[in-house]
């Protein structure tokens, strides 16, 4: 178990028992070419082209980049700049849906007969990126750098952010698929040992997952770890610490200590891509908070968020706001025209909280130090960032901050810690 972190009220009961529903197809899908970490994809279609569901519309522009596929069938209405849920904008291929949902030909395969290299290239061609929020291209994680050795795969089923239940529902409803995906990932990395990390509030499915992972027609051993409910249990570094007892070196990658972590939905997407030839064109997300009924929806990539809000009957009154992602690390939605992208884990409608206008002084209570899972000193760090002492920020390891928000959450002075640290990091990059 890791040090620090905070205990949060999880509000998961709002949507925990809601079955995954297929969200109706959008009339128009705006599929951004930059929805992953790395370079934006290059468009390979132009206005007026007819496209099918699952057809490649963007190709990777470099090593760390991703394929982009059409999520509907129809005609390309143009390549336009659209706002992203995170506040930036990106060129997007806008497709007018013809309502036919005609798919490209998809090849069914038996993964047991595939070589690791073949799996990696199938994952790459399916445009799979980390679906827990970071959107890092998955095939890169499946390619272990030379001189390093991965010996442990961890499936991240923690979903430690309050409110979100999409991963929980996927694991519950498609347990077999997720486990098969995990096996395929193990095969791609030539690893025999895998763990599934679940937070204690999901222990009701632990037995089911354990059962599904027992009788495998392969030599891969999968173990279930039920971990205490403590945010940020689902942070990659902290999940590894809890499951494998090792700490990722400062400035290093999980693979440095032999671990690779994947999200539940990423594993399912790998299974769908490898076994069914289905690229990543839809995902499950949770819509919850101040809505008449919370839901878990399977949504095509490119569906406008405004449509989902309408569908769920979310009334936008003053004093309410929309957060994309979880309440601890999510972003305020600036434009409801933004489409759902591969990393959209949830849409929350929250009441507006009041925050002080100016930065209030730190009273040195030390709560943030106790809460910091990276064992940093947010109190000292935030004072330095406030005074624009960037060297001081470097000295107090701002680079190690994972922006989990624990310090801001506990701060009685309601200091905008994470905001200050993001600012300091941006300044560091400039220097």
């Amino acid at each position: 178990m890791f040090n620090g972190g905070v205990k949060l009220v999880d509000f998961k009961e709002l949507s925990k028992e809601k079955h995954i529903e297929d969200f109706p197809l959008p009339e128009k899908a705006a599929i951004p070419l930059s929805q992953h970490t790395g370079l934006p994809a290059k468009p390979v279609v132009k206005k007026g082209d007819a496209v099918l569901k699952g057809q490649v519309i963007g190709e990777p522009a470099g090593f760390i980049s991703s394929f982009i596929h059409s999520s509907v069938s129809g005609t390309v209405a143009g390549i336009e700049n659209v706002p992203l849920p995170g506040g930036k904008s990106s060129p997007a291929v806008v497709i007018q849906n013809d309502g036919q949902d005609t798919a490209v030909e998809m090849e069914k395969r038996n993964w047991l007969s595939l070589q690791p290299k073949e799996i990696v290239s199938l994952v790459r061609e399916a445009g799979i990126v980390g679906m827990g929020g970071a959107a890092f291209p998955t095939f890169v994680k499946l390619t272990v750098p030379e001189g390093k050795k991965a010996d442990c795969v961890i499936l991240n089923g923690c979903e430690c952010e309050p409110f979100l239940t999409a991963d929980y529902r996927v694991l519950k409803e498609q347990c077999g698929g997720v486990i098969e995906g995990l096996q395929i990932i193990c095969r791609a990395l030539s690893i025999q040992k895998a763990y599934i990390g679940l937070e204690n509030n999901k222990k009701d499915i632990a037995a089911m997952v354990k059962n599904a992972a027992r009788n495998l027609h392969d030599s891969i051993k999968i173990r279930i770890k039920v971990l205490p409910e403590r945010y940020p249990q689902g942070s990659e570094k902290h999940l590894i610490k809890s499951v494998a007892g090792k700490e990722v070196p400062s400035g290093g990658l999980p693979v440095d200590i032999g671990c690779v972590v994947f999200n539940v939905q990423t594993a399912l997407a790998v299974r769908d891509a490898v076994c069914c030839g289905l690229p990543l064109i839809e995902r499950v997300l949770t819509v919850t908070g101040l809505v008449p009924e919370s839901r878990n929806l399977k949504v095509r990539i490119g569906t406008p968020i405004s449509r989902i809000l309408d569908y769920c009957g979310a009334e936008m009154k003053p004093g309410r706001r929309i957060v994309i992602g979880g309440p601890m690390m999510g972003v305020n939605l600036h434009s409801a025209d933004a489409p759902v992208i591969k990393s959209t884990t949830g849409i929350l409608i929250l009441p507006q909280e009041e925050m002080p206008e100016e930065i209030r002084p730190c009273i040195r209570c030390g709560r943030c130090i106790e809460a910091c899972p990276m064992r940093l000193v947010p109190a000292e760090l935030s004072r330095r960032a406030e005074n624009k002492d960037w060297e001081g920020c470097v000295r107090f390891d701002v680079a190690d901050c994972i922006e989990c928000g624990c310090c801001s959450y506990v701060c009685p002075a309601k200091r905008p810690m994470v905001e200050l640290f993001k600012w300091a990091k941006a300044e560091m990059r400039r220097l």
Binding site: F2, N3, V6, L8, P162, K237, K241, E247, V248, P249, S250, G251, G252, R321, V323, P327, M328, M329, G330, V331, N332, L348, L350, Q352, E353, E354, M355, E357, R360, P361, C362, I363, R364, C365, G366, R367, I369, P373, M374, R375, L376, V377, A379, E380, E391, V394, R395, D397, D400, E403, S408, Y409, V410, C411, P412, A413, K414, P416, V418, K422
Partner: protein, 327 residues
């Protein structure tokens, strides 16, 4: 008030002013005890201290061109704590001067809330003691307000001066039936407030426990009665309410243990060897100076550096490497 623009979008309900008002509530039982033993006149002193602190804070924030933040309640806490360390017969003008010294000199001149290095109430007390030694060492006997004011020595004073006055019993010291500063005498009621602060998670156990245990241990070692040493002076008030002041104590649990032990050692040395009968105020002020130093060596090791011996932090703080880039 502004809207939330950045993550996290939810926050804990604890706020600075809730903490301050909780501290004020935790001091009320001891204040009530003090009124019982020393008469309603102590309320006047408390009131004057609070008003003086609040006015001084508003004025200094005006003068320094800052936004007025007096609503956070910290000036009220300082005022109450200052009154608690003044003798029951302190002239009101002196209490008012103390309030000004505490807020203007010890707090706002250093940058305001969270930036002061010395405990404001204790700084004011130290200056008042140096400036008005007579008034600051005149202690009235309990219940003397009902007859004529009788001044008497504090229990520690009796020991120090080897007076042949009867020492109060341990029970009297527990309930507060002894002479002393306004807020330091009612051990039981102070403990009640201290436990409230612990349960409210406003303070942690580290400083009170290490402070009190150090004094008790050293007393036992030199054949003094540990319980007498704990209850005779301002130790309980100091250990629970003064030494635990956030701004002037270390940030981590380990640092707090060292800080408390240091306070205990200095308190004990002053009581045993110094010419003052009591050393709580000075010991805390002296240890306040060590806080940055203690912090420097007790801050946690960051995640991902889990080697058993890690000298990188020392290197990062070395004066030869002011840029501190950890390479």
């Amino acid at each position: 008030m502004a809207e939330i623009k950045w993550a996290p979008h939810i926050h804990d309900s604890e706020t600075t002013s809730r903490i301050m008002w909780s501290v004020i509530i935790s001091l009320l039982p001891a204040l009530a005890g003090s009124v019982w033993f020393f008469g309603p006149a102590v309320l006047k002193i408390v009131l004057v201290c609070i008003v003086s602190c609040v006015i001084s804070e508003i004025l200094s924030q005006r003068v320094f061109g800052k936004t007025i933040k007096v609503y956070d309640g910290s000036a009220v806490v300082t005022g109450m704590l200052l009154a608690f360390v003044l003798p029951p017969a302190t002239p009101l003008w002196m209490a008012a001067v103390g309030g000004f010294l505490a807020i203007f000199l010890a707090k706002e001149l250093f940058g305001g809330l969270g930036h002061n290095i010395f405990n404001p109430a204790l700084t004011a007390r130290a200056i008042l003691t140096a400036s008005f030694p007579l008034e600051m060492t005149q202690f009235t006997a309990p219940f003397s307000y009902r007859i004529d004011a009788v001044s008497t020595a504090t229990p520690l004073g009796i020991i120090k001066e080897s007076l042949d006055t009867q020492l109060p019993s341990l029970f009297d010291m527990l309930i507060g039936n002894r002479s002393g500063c306004i807020g330091e005498t009612c051990t039981l009621l102070l403990l009640l407030g201290g436990i409230f602060l612990l349960l409210r998670r406003i303070i942690t156990w580290h400083i009170p426990v290490s402070y009190v245990l150090t004094v008790a241990f050293l007393s036992a070692l030199t054949e003094q009665a540990p319980l007498f040493q704990i209850m005779a002076g301002g130790l309980i008030l100091g250990a629970f309410f003064m030494a635990t002041d956030y701004a002037t104590s270390p940030l981590t649990g380990r640092g707090k243990l060292i800080f408390g032990a240091g306070c205990g050692i200095i308190t004990f040395l002053i009581r045993l060897k110094g010419s003052y009968p009591e050393g709580v105020a000075y010991s805390i002020l002296i240890m306040n100076m060590f806080v940055p130093f203690i912090d420097k060596y007790t801050l946690p090791k960051k995640f991902g550096l889990s080697h058993s011996r890690d000298f990188s932090r020392l290197r990062r703080f070395s004066p030869k490497n002011p840029g501190g880039v950890n390479k």
